[in-house]
Amino acid sequence: MDLLYFAHVRENIGCSSEQISLPDNISDVSGLINHLRAKGINYQSAFENEDIIRVAVNQLYVNFDHVISEKDEIAFFPPMTGG
């Protein structure tokens, strides 16, 4: 699956996008975040405070309990500050 990172999430992780295989036991966004945290200290720091993490699946905002699949594009970023 495609993962995209923006703003401080991108800076903490150290890359703007990557491809991973979704493990069979992971079914939702929350599970994916936990899986990513296990990849290293940079991910732990990016996802440290879930209150300031927003997620879009295939460019639509979703909650952390949103069900995901291998074909999805998942984007993580902080609350928006447009305008």
Partner: protein, 151 residues
């Protein structure tokens, strides 16, 4: 229909108005909002700003916000332009134009679009100050402003 642009280059308000109003005689009022980079954020003097965005999704979100505004108010058209990339104090960031037969609809729709854009458009501001760079955090006030329209 409203025109949505996400672009790095600057915009000209007169040209943008002319582009959607030109020769039309059914429009009673045009409201515009232009957002500029301020040189102060709280007590921090801002040297520069960078606007990061989510290409593709940014356009989609702006279009969705415009669609909602058009369903809610009798608009005769409009434009939303949001810039990204490096910006300096005084630079234009965002332009919203709404056209209506009546001024109230144009005012309310422009204000609505701006409120939602602050909280729902995937853009992130990074400010460069004398004490370093930092990402601007979302304001609770903006979330409240966006929520007020759900009433």
């Amino acid at each position: 229909m409203m025109k949505v642009l996400v672009q790095e280059q600057d915009f000209n308000i007169a040209a943008e108005i002319a582009d959607i109003v030109s020769k039309r005689t059914d429009i009673g009022g045009i409201v515009t909002f232009t957002g500029l980079v301020r040189d102060f954020h709280g007590s921090n003097k801002i040297q520069k700003m960078t606007l990061e965005h989510f290409p593709g999704m940014a356009e989609k979100q702006l279009e969705a916000i415009c669609k909602t505004a058009q369903e809610r108010w009798p608009l005769l058209g409009g434009t939303v332009i949001h810039r990204y990339g490096p910006l300096n104090p005084g630079d234009q960031i965002v332009l919203v134009i709404t056209l209506s037969a009546h001024r109230e609809a144009a005012f309310d729709a422009a204000s609505f679009i701006m409120d939602w854009l602050k909280t729902d458009a995937p853009f992130w501001k990074k400010e460069e100050t004398l004490s370093g760079t930092h990402w601007v955090s979302a304001k609770d006030a903006d979330t409240l402003k966006a929520e007020k329209w759900q009433k």
